[in-house]
């Protein structure tokens, strides 16, 4: 490999990127719009879920319960209905996602037996929301039940410690507020880098074939590896810029906590870029058409990165076969790494496994790309 020729290819590539609006758009505009589009669009937090209440008793106790719902961040009471059909209609229309029904003997049973039940009716068409809503509703009800227990104890002149020997308290680590954005955004950076990286390089060799400059290049003493590395280096720099850009937006705009070290982030991001850039390069070599290669690159990078990387959908909840499949998805390793670096702040040492997988992946793809593009006689 001669530095002079490598340099000539790299400089030429930079000039071409600079003068090609399509490359520039992909490199600069795409990450920016994607960050905001997905950053705001994908939100798994349940807040102010509209519910309707059906108070069949109309007592002080039932109103207290509803006040607990109203006071919670998770629910907003949209309707108060008088009959079951009204409630069903409200849920059917989509005005409400859940209904809370207080039975006619609510306060009576509460006073007599010390226990009463409340009915929750959930819209199961979105089972994810329904599950979360049910859990939150249970939490609100148990909060209310604690309150009345306390006031009952109060009346008895006793304190909490005496009757409650065990209190279960769950504490969430690393994303204390359970803000879904905090675990989505770092993963989103990975998805965007996967897509943009492969897009950029998918054009590079195909462009030479389409414009007829490839034959000239082959007739010169330049070697295949000089062409490959000469072309990949400018895109690696562009990839670093894009990554820095996305990560800055994540931290400064979306206020995602960053607890790791920049060194760990830089190292793993570079590895990941090596994989995605040579992946795009490989498609470009194999397909030889800019449109074809960029479409294949999009499908091959975006879909697995979105669906199978654990970016949104937890891998351990996938069927076993699909779980095995995700080991093939290189984005999975980077998503794991970047979430860990962001939220847990752990260093290279604890990330050895995913890093090792990424290294193997990078070597394999770079090797394949180098093999695919040979200046060979036909």
């Amino acid at each position: 490999m001669r530095l002079r020729r490598l340099n000539a290819i790299a400089v030429k590539e930079v000039l071409q990127i600079w003068r090609d609006p399509r490359s520039l758009m992909i490199a600069l505009l795409l990450p920016f719009t994607q960050m905001f589009l997905f950053g705001y669009g994908v939100n798994l937090d349940l807040k102010h879920l509209p519910i309707c209440t059906f108070d069949r008793e109309g007592s002080q106790a039932s109103q207290d319960l509803f006040k607990h719902f109203q006071a919670s961040l998770y629910f907003a009471i949209a309707h108060n209905v008088k009959t079951y059909p009204e409630m069903v209609a409200a849920i059917d229309r989509g005005d409400c996602r859940a209904g809370i029904v207080v039975p006619p003997d609510f306060s009576e049973r509460l006073n007599d037996a010390g226990t009463a039940s409340v009915q929750a009716i959930l819209d199961g068409t979105d089972d994810n929301t329904a599950n979360i809503a049910f859990a939150y509703a249970a939490a609100v009800v148990s909060g209310y039940s604690n309150d009345i227990q306390l006031s009952w104890l109060d009346r008895q002149g006793r304190t909490l410690q005496q009757v409650t020997p065990l209190v279960v308290q769950s504490r969430v680590w690393f994303n204390e507020d359970l803000v879904s954005r905090n675990f989505i955004i770092p993963g989103l950076v990975a998805v965007i880098m996967a897509m943009v990286g492969a897009q950029l390089t998918s054009l590079t060799i195909a462009r030479e074939w389409e414009r007829g400059t490839m034959e000239l290049l082959v007739s010169t003493p330049v070697t295949s590896s000089e062409v490959m590395f000469g072309k990949l280096i400018p895109y690696l720099i562009l990839g670093w810029l894009d990554a820095a850009f996305c990560l800055t937006i994540a931290v400064l705009w979306f206020a995602v906590p960053f607890r790791g070290t920049l060194f760990a982030l830089f190292l793993t991001t570079t590895l990941f870029l090596a994989v995605v850039l040579s992946m795009g390069y490989l498609f470009s070599v194999l397909i030889r058409s800019q449109v074809g290669a960029s479409q294949i690159a999009l499908v091959a990078t975006l879909l697995p990165a979105m669906l199978l990387s654990g970016y949104i959908f937890p891998i351990d909840q996938m069927p076993p076969f699909i779980q095995d499949l995700t080991y093939l998805i290189y984005a999975r390793y980077y998503v794991t790494i970047i979430k860990a670096i962001f939220l847990k702040g752990i260093g290279i040492g604890q990330l050895m496994m995913p890093i090792l997988f990424l290294v193997i992946y990078a070597l394999a793809v770079v090797g394949l790309a180098a093999r695919a593009f040979r200046k060979r006689l036909t």
């Binding site: 000539a8 290819i9 000039l15 007829g212 034959e215 003493p221």
Partner: protein, 322 residues
């Protein structure tokens, strides 16, 4: 420079070259030698195999059989070393159109590892040669065709290759630019550069030291333009005009002293052993068959006439063989 000299100091040696693509034979047992400082033109119809031969010589295609030495180096076993010694201008215009004149030259300077201290001077030379002074910062895409071709030549000679392959460098370029391009090629050859150039403009054969006529993968004639004009046809040429082309052609093909006759536009080209004799004998011969040509005269064929004849004759021979 003549053929004997060429053999003594051969820069390009091709022996028994064959290239097959599947069952199609693109190059069929071709042999030739080209000497230092010689300009050899490949002429022939599209698809004759001109580009295929040049691409094999540049190490872009692997020959199916035969031996190819370029600058004394075997192209098949060591294509990378050959590439350091050649300049190649491909059929398709193939500079980077989104780069400027200067950027293209600098790129090729880097690719061919032109020493940095010489690069400025070499670039100056190429720019002057192409007549592109003052347009160094212009994007190649904005240049007219003739300028682009000359810049491509400039890029191909930037590293002073002793051997230059030009594949249809003048196609699509207007006549005055073509003329100027050939002047450049002659300047380079005078400095000892060996040039192999293909063209489908038959008149450009006149600019070459030697021309090779290629048809269906074979060299059917090769020599200096003068040599070709004197001997390639194997006879002398008459032009005959008449009303009744068909019967006259049939009669001529049987006539004594006639080697061949073929329709050429709205007249007949008659190849005869002795022009002077046929000019007196043919009218009488035709008159016996009640055929009256309106004109019969000797013509001094251009290279184009000769090539058209040779190609037609070659086709006829192949049809008979098949």
């Amino acid at each position: 420079m003549n053929a004997n000299n060429a053999a003594a100091d051969a820069q390009i040696v091709v022996e028994g070259l064959v290239k097959r693509f599947g069952s199609f034979v693109a190059v069929d047992d071709v042999s030739f030698r080209i000497g230092r400082g010689e300009i050899v033109g490949f002429l022939g119809p599209n698809g004759a195999g001109k580009s295929t031969i040049i691409r094999i010589l540049c190490g872009l295609l692997r020959p199916s059989a035969g031996r190819v030495l370029v600058g004394g180096i075997d192209v098949v076993s060591d294509p990378e070393r050959v590439r350091e010694h050649i300049g190649y201008m491909s059929q398709k215009f193939s500079l980077y159109r989104d780069l400027t004149v200067e950027e293209n030259l600098r790129f090729f300077g880097g690719i061919y590892s032109v020493p940095r201290q010489q690069l400025a001077e070499r670039m100056r030379f190429a720019i002057d040669m192409a007549g592109l002074g003052g347009r160094e910062k212009a994007l190649v895409a904005t240049l007219a065709g003739g300028w682009q071709q000359r810049l491509a030549l400039g890029c191909a000679v930037l590293h002073r290759p002793p051997i230059l392959f030009l594949d249809e460098p003048t196609s699509g370029v207007e006549p005055t630019s073509r003329r100027r391009f050939w002047d450049l090629i002659h300047t380079l050859a005078a400095d000892g550069v060996t040039v192999l150039v293909s063209t489908h403009y038959m008149d450009e054969a006149e600019y070459c030291h030697r021309a090779a006529l290629i048809n269906q993968g074979r060299i059917i004639a090769m020599g200096s333009p003068d040599q070709l004009k004197r001997t390639a046809l194997g006879g002398e040429l008459l032009l005959l005009k008449c009303e009744t082309l068909g019967p006259t052609l049939a009669a001529l093909q049987q006539a004594p002293g006639v080697v061949d006759a073929s329709v050429f536009g709205n007249a007949i080209h008659v190849l005869v052993r002795d022009a002077a004799r046929s000019l007196t004998e043919l009218p009488a011969y035709l008159a016996e068959k009640s055929l009256r040509p309106s004109a019969l005269e000797r013509i001094h064929p251009s290279l184009e006439d000769i090539f058209v004849h040779l190609v037609a004759a070659d086709m006829a021979k192949r049809r008979q063989a098949a």
